[in-house]
């Protein structure tokens, strides 16, 4: 089987190299192959990562000292809106979908996703969504006929989105962009679920799937339940703005609070949509680099399902400061705290996997170790904020901003970087440079902690989020400067990362099929895998089919 898979793609590659550029371009545009679509998702997300990073940098320069006028207040509003929207919808989501697209069929021994054309359609919807958002910079007429970007914040609370406060079309671009990319997300989620449930190779029962596949199944289910309400809310907002409806129009009896509910019914599960795939990466990388099977596989699955289930009923903890009834407050406090239980179980399981293992701190493992440590801290500030009285004090402050960046950057992004280093050899056939990888880790690690550890402090000292400048002498100055300095390290880390990706693509060490001595099915194919993935559909007997192949004397299926 392995030999078939190796010989054919090489002939294909030599043919591909000779074809004219237009042909190859045409192939990428019209492809329905899950691997090419996965790569396109990821490249698209990386481009937006740079854009979103520049927006963050502009904000940090503006806030690095009191009374700076690097950008105007209007531009600052646009920056935080575009930064949030871009990072969530056009960086994190496509990265997650790209990984799932590329890896799920390979891991379950399938030749493609269940609906390849739906897959391509969903990708292009998401891609056009991102383009639509940024087209607002030139296409949305502002007050004086100049283009402007959305400036209503990434959760776009009513009545900011009404015509009175959002003149011109920038908010419409925001709405339509999220609606379009939301439909793309739902399409991909459907595809992932059907692929996992219908296309597994013989022998791969649900209990034998790699954890990566299990967690992506849960993620896709959450996308269906969470992104749909967002789409509904965006349709309502469009009705308000285009047809003169009154859903969120308080003058006519509409409610601004119901927008908050609708948005956060999406917004909180969205956190789990992003973090569960990060868990998925950690659950693959940590065992391989600890040379041990994952500890507590069934419990890991159960904990993930529990997180998703409980995570559907915690949304109003974003709204403690709005003023809800004490019963509602109590419910959302308790449900939010309950999420910590399955999450804690997962952290202990990863630690138990590492315990007594032969840990090899290659770049993927470094990033996963950073993730474990940082995600724990992010969870702890999450529990602090879940207590309503504490949230009344610190809601809407930089403490909250520091908390969720700890989750999204320290948790999710670190795992996604790990995924890059881990699967890059599979996708390109070449290893990432290890030294540059470690440099990337340390630069980003230092930058991350400088920025987001110290960002908690101005929050505790009462600095609200989304202010474009502040008075000197409130004790915020030094902290904001340190936060800004951290950005320099993070930016340097990302540049090293980008350089590494490009350099390794041309001159990295040839990887071979299985550079990490790993155990899941994607490592049985050539690197990069052929268009059909598997010449012969494999059949598996345990959760680590490659371990069984490599160790016929002591296979896993004897114990599972």
């Amino acid at each position: 089987m392995a030999t078939d898979a190796i010989t054919l793609p090489e002939t294909q590659e030599t043919v591909g190299a000779k074809r004219p550029l237009v042909d190859r371009f045409h192939e990428w545009i019209t492809t329905v192959d899950h691997k090419q679509l996965g790569v396109m998702y990821i490249l698209y997300a990386l481009a937006f990562l740079l854009v979103g990073g520049v927006e963050a940098t502009i904000m940090r320069i503006q806030l690095s000292a009191p009374h700076k006028d690097f950008v105007s207040p209007q531009v600052f509003n646009r920056m935080f809106t575009m930064h949030g929207t871009t990072m969530i919808f056009f960086v994190a989501m496509p990265l997650v979908f790209g990984l799932a697209n590329y890896l799920v069929p390979l891991m379950i021994g399938a030749r493609d996703m269940a609906f390849p054309r739906l897959n391509a359609f969903s990708f292009w919807l998401s891609a056009f969504g991102g383009i639509l958002l940024y087209f607002s910079l030139v296409g949305a007429n502002g007050l004086y006929g100049a283009g402007n970007a959305p400036d209503v914040g990434w959760f776009a609370y009513a009545p900011l989105t009404s015509h009175t406060f959002s003149v011109g079309h920038s908010t419409d671009f925001w709405t339509l962009s999220l609606l379009v990319s939301g439909f793309g997300s739902i399409g991909t989620a459907i595809n992932i679920i059907v692929t996992i449930l219908c296309l597994r190779c013989p022998g791969m029962k649900l209990g034998k799937m790699p954890l990566f596949v299990w967690l992506n199944l849960v993620m896709a289910g959450l996308v269906i339940l969470a992104v749909s309400p967002l789409s509904a809310a965006q349709i309502m907002l469009s009705i308000d703005r285009y047809l003169g409806g009154h859903f969120f129009d308080t003058q006519a009896g509409g409610s601004a609070v119901i927008w908050m509910h609708f948005f956060w019914i999406f917004g909180h599960p969205e956190v789990y949509v992003l973090v569960i795939p990060a868990f998925a990466v950690a659950s693959e990388v940590i065992p391989v680099f600890s040379r041990k099977a994952i500890f507590g596989y069934p419990v890991m699955v159960a904990a993930t399902v529990a997180i998703a289930f409980v995570g559907m009923s915690v949304w109003a903890h974003h709204m403690f400061t709005v003023g809800m009834s004490s019963n509602a407050n109590a419910f959302f406090v308790l449900s939010t705290m309950a999420v910590a239980v399955p999450t804690g179980i997962k952290i202990f399981n990863w630690l138990a996997t590492m315990w007594g293992g032969k840990i090899d701190f290659k770049p993927p493992m470094l990033f996963c170790a950073g993730f474990l440590f940082q995600f724990l801290l992010a969870g702890l500030t999450g529990i602090m904020l879940s207590a309503a009285p504490f949230d009344w004090q610190l809601g809407n402050s930089y403490f909250v901003v520091a908390h969720f960046h700890y989750v999204i950057v320290g948790g999710i992004l670190f795992c996604l970087f790990a995924a890059f280093y881990y699967w890059y050899p599979k996708a390109t056939g070449r290893m990432c440079n290890e030294l540059l990888g470690k440099l990337h880790f340390w630069l980003f690690f230092i930058g991350f902690h400088l920025t987001f550890d110290f960002m908690h402090v101005p929050g505790l000292l009462g600095m609200p989020r989304r202010i474009y400048t502040y008075e000197p002498g409130r004790g915020w100055d030094t902290w904001n400067l340190i936060v800004g300095i951290g950005v320099v390290f993070q930016a340097a880390g990302v540049l090293v990362f980008a350089a590494n990706l490009i350099w390794s693509y041309f001159s990295g060490k040839i990887a071979g099929n299985d550079p990490w001595d790993a155990w899941t099915l994607e490592w049985t194919t050539s690197s990069p895998p052929p268009a059909y993935n598997f010449a012969v559909i494999p059949s598996v007997k345990s959760r680590r089919p490659l371990w069984d192949l490599k160790h016929p004397e002591d296979p896993d299926w004897k114990y599972e």
Binding site: M1, A114, F115, L118, I186, A189, I190, N191, I193, V194, L197, C198, L199, P202, G203, I224, L225, V227, S228, P229, S231, A232, A233, I235, M236, I239, D240, L243, G244, G245, H246, F247, A252, G253, G254, S255, I258, F262, I265, I537, P538, S539, K541, L549
Partner: protein
């Protein structure tokens, strides 16, 4: 890897191939149900909160006839698929056409109702909260009926040219699943708008 293992799982694989479309449709229905849920919640939340008339009590009439049309189309589409499974393509085309007819009648009923509301009662989507939520919820459903009718119409055209055969029964059944969903949503919308909200 061994041939023996593959043969054991062969029958299971065949079952999977047919389930793909159905499962995809179930997932789509789950997503659509979530969208409708938000609209229904908004309708219930804004019930009686309009600052000005007209109110549902003043202007809404229960569309019993059209509701019967839509709900009975679920039965006819079921009979159509059953005929196709038995290779009775003639009966399939007749039941299918009846489904199309009943669905179109329902949509025509919505057109008549909206015309009455807009021209005789002066209720538009801009009038008050009732108008906003009513036209949004009923309109969202009507949009799904319209999409279903387009799909049904395409299948009917194929049937007219004799292109729908027994081997297409599974695919046609997947479309029927969507149609049943649209009918089920109408039961909810009917209850919310014409029973609870009136």
């Amino acid at each position: 890897m061994s041939a023996a293992t593959v043969t054991i799982h062969e029958p299971e694989l065949q079952w999977r191939a047919s389930a793909r479309g159905r499962l995809g449709m179930y997932c789509l229905i789950a997503a659509e149900a979530a969208i409708f849920t938000i609209f229904v919640v908004a309708y219930l939340f804004y019930m009686g909160k309009s600052h000005s008339g007209p109110t549902p009590q003043q202007v809404l009439h229960v569309p019993i006839l059209f509701t019967i049309c839509l709900l009975s189309s679920s039965l006819t589409i079921h009979l159509a698929v059953r005929s196709l499974r038995k290779s009775k393509t003639g009966a399939f085309a007749r039941w299918w056409f009846l489904t199309l007819f009943l669905g179109t009648t329902f949509l025509a009923g919505t057109v008549v109702e909206w015309r009455h509301l807009i021209y005789d009662e002066g209720l538009t989507i801009q009038t008050n909260l009732f108008g906003t939520t009513y036209y949004s919820l009923v309109g969202l459903h009507a949009f799904h009926v319209l999409m279903g009718l387009l799909a049904l119409g395409i299948v009917w055209l194929f049937a007219m040219f004799g292109r729908v055969k027994r081997e297409h029964a599974e695919r046609v059944d997947t479309l029927a699943l969507y149609w049943h969903f649209v009918d089920t949503v109408w039961v909810v919308v009917f209850l919310v708008v014409y029973v609870i909200g009136r």
